[in-house]
């Protein structure tokens, strides 16, 4: 073992202490409460509530990730290919919302999207509509608020990997006869994809744990699994069952992330090979 390897030790110890150990405890209390029991498992799968909410959570997280990609990737491209002098300024603008609390950002949507909010008042004033449109408290608002919160992550990770793309490869593809779209699709995109992939994974994992924002701006049906865990912990002191839901959340998240990594690696390699 090289001496440098010792440098990883503090981080490793910390990880074991604050991540591995709690996850082990989580596993334990899901099945030992206090003796070995499968009752949490039975309860989870015997009610439609938990499965339905879990499904809803996955759906909202997947779509939020997708929307972040659709909006974030082109923005990152724009910044990465803009004049060097302005890049820092653009990045600063993107990071700006990070300094505002999530709660305030969620509330600020209310003044924009409300029945008597900016958009509705303007549209009515301009005569486009005569009855206000209900935009708040819908699943659409949930996506809007979540994408707003997560978008900077996607832009930053994409931007990072785009800077590392050798422009000469794209030029080479063009010289060898590829059209601009083909050159992008066959060369630039696969090379910049690692950033988009890591951004997507981070955003997906974060979204799976969200619950305050959807509860604030969402409608009746926008319940996230985090809401149910919170209720079990804070209202019922049923930590065993809360752990079990947490465990299911962890497993489902891991499976989807691994599936994503497996599928995209396969695709990208294929593409570069072809």
């Amino acid at each position: 073992m090289k001496k440098e390897h010792l440098l990883i030790l503090p981080a490793l110890l910390l990880t074991i202490l604050i991540i591995i150990f709690p996850i082990f405890e989580l596993l334990k209390s899901s099945f030992f409460d206090p003796d070995f029991t499968l009752r949490h498992l039975e309860k989870f799968f015997s009610k439609t509530l938990y499965i339905e909410v879990l499904f809803n959570t996955v759906k909202i997280s997947l779509f939020s990730t997708l929307f972040c990609f659709i909006l974030g990737y082109p923005s990152a491209y724009f910044i990465a290919h803009s004049n060097k002098r302005f890049r820092g300024y653009f990045l600063f603008l993107i990071l700006l919302p990070f300094w505002v609390s999530i709660l305030i950002r969620s509330y600020s949507w209310m003044t924009v999207l409300g029945i008597e909010g900016v958009i509705n008042t303007t549209l009515i004033y301009l005569g486009v509509i005569d009855q206000p449109i209900r935009m708040l408290y819908t699943t659409g608002t949930v996506y809007l608020a979540m994408v707003q919160i997560m978008l900077p992550i996607m832009i930053l990770t994409c931007y990072g990997s785009m800077l590392r793309v050798e422009e000469d490869y794209v030029k080479a593809a063009r010289i060898l006869g590829a059209g601009p779209i083909q050159a992008f699709y066959k060369v630039y995109f696969p090379l910049s994809f690692p950033g988009a992939a890591s951004g997507s994974i981070i955003i997906f994992i974060l979204s799976m744990g969200f619950f305050i924002t959807p509860a604030l701006v969402g409608g009746k049906k926008d319940i996230m699994i985090g809401n149910l865990i919170n209720f079990q912990i804070n209202q019922l002191l049923n930590w065993g069952f809360a752990s079990f839901i947490g465990l299911v959340l962890l497993i489902v998240t891991l499976v989807i992330v691994l599936l994503f990594v497996y599928l995209t690696r396969f695709k990208i390699e294929n593409r570069i090979g072809g």
């Binding site: 009610k47 339905e52 003044t111 708040l136 409608g219 009746k220 049906k221 319940i223 209720f231 019922l236």
Partner: protein
């Protein structure tokens, strides 16, 4: 520059020792911050300090989960926690609370026994009630639950608390059950189904089930809903700020906040904490509080000292009590988890 630094350092040290010294004289309350705590400070903490030298500080946002963790670690980070009916019963069941010494809290015996629970003192009353902005219904809006449910006669969006407790009772009241009979019907066979069936009727018109008390207020103010179920204190605060809001206690839900002492606190600190509870039973101070916040305490002699016009705004005024149902926590404790699950399933349907 050095001088300033020296000063800051010595000042920090001195103030550290000073606070460490008076620590024995400070108790901590795990309660809600904001206007409530400001008014508690005005009405009770100033006079209490003058009388007993006791300092009371806030640990914001009460959490049953944190209480359980604290008790299992056998620590006493705060001497008092604010609970509500459901969390109180659960905390008693799990042995998280200790008995309250009413010889200190209410030496003159001026609070009715029903508010002096073994492990918790019911210190304030509040209500969840029907409210709307007057301009939403120029010819008068809903004044009882049946009318709140009647979207033909009183059209427009609604919001209700995302909470099964209270909502089932409201549904039965809308279905013609008298407030005093709601728990009799709920406990009888088919009663719960009847409530859910009635809730089906209003559900398409409920744009949002709110979870924090500020939300319905915002939704009324912003015109997101035509009518709402909201807390009376927040409604009055809204009216004080100039919003033309109507509210009625008819078919409302009367409930109370509970102060309890964690079982992991020593007997001495519990007795010191009881001095703070005693402040709430002191009529002169309680009157000041009731004038600031329409969440009155249950101390005898308070209602008589209030302006009769103002008393009408309080949930505990006898005429208002008669219009409402009072949460029956015995019923709810027996059904809490299963009905909560059913409620969530119902909202997803």
């Amino acid at each position: 520059m050095k001088k300033i630094l020296k000063f800051i350092i010595s000042f920090t040290f001195i103030s550290f020792f000073l606070t460490a010294n008076v620590n024995a004289e400070t108790i901590y309350v795990n309660g809600y911050g904001g206007t409530t705590w400001e008014n508690i400070t005005k009405a009770f903490l100033g006079p209490l300090k003058a009388k007993t030298g006791l300092d009371v500080d806030l640990v914001p946002d009460p959490s049953l989960a944190k209480l359980a963790a604290m008790v299992s670690a056998n620590k006493c980070d705060y001497e008092i926690i604010e609970l509500e009916g459901a969390t109180y019963i659960l905390a008693v069941e799990k042995g998280l609370l200790q008995e309250i010494n009413y010889d200190i809290v209410d030496p003159n015996n001026i609070v009715a026994d029903s508010h002096k629970k073994k492990f918790g003192y019911e210190f304030v009353a509040f209500s969840e009630i029907i409210a709307y902005r007057n301009d939403q219904f120029p010819n008068g809006g809903p004044t009882n639950m049946a009318e709140f449910w009647d979207v033909e006669k009183f059209p427009g969006a609604r919001t209700m608390h995302d909470r099964v407790v209270g909502s089932l009772e409201f549904a039965l009241e809308a279905d013609g059950v008298a407030p005093s009979d709601v728990y009799k019907v709920l406990s009888s066979p088919g009663g719960i189904d009847r409530a859910f069936k009635k809730l089906d009727e209003i559900k398409p018109h409920v744009v949002k089930f709110w979870s924090s008390g500020a939300e319905p207020i915002q939704m009324i103010a912003d015109g997101e809903v035509a009518a709402a179920i909201a807390w009376n204190g927040r409604l009055q605060a809204m009216a004080n700020e100039g919003v033309d809001v109507f509210y009625t206690f008819q078919d409302g839900n009367l409930d109370s906040g509970i102060y309890s002492i964690p079982s992991s606190c020593s007997k001495e600190s519990a007795d010191t904490a009881a001095l703070y509870l005693n402040a709430w039973t002191t009529p002169e101070w309680a009157v000041v509080w009731a004038k600031l916040m329409p969440y009155p305490p249950f101390t005898g002699g308070v209602a008589e000292q209030l302006d009769p016009e103002y008393a009408k705004l309080l949930p505990t005024t006898p005429e208002n009590v008669a219009m409402q149902h009072q949460t029956d926590w015995t019923f709810w404790h027996a059904n809490y988890e299963s009905l909560n699950e059913r409620w969530k399933e119902w909202t997803l349907e």
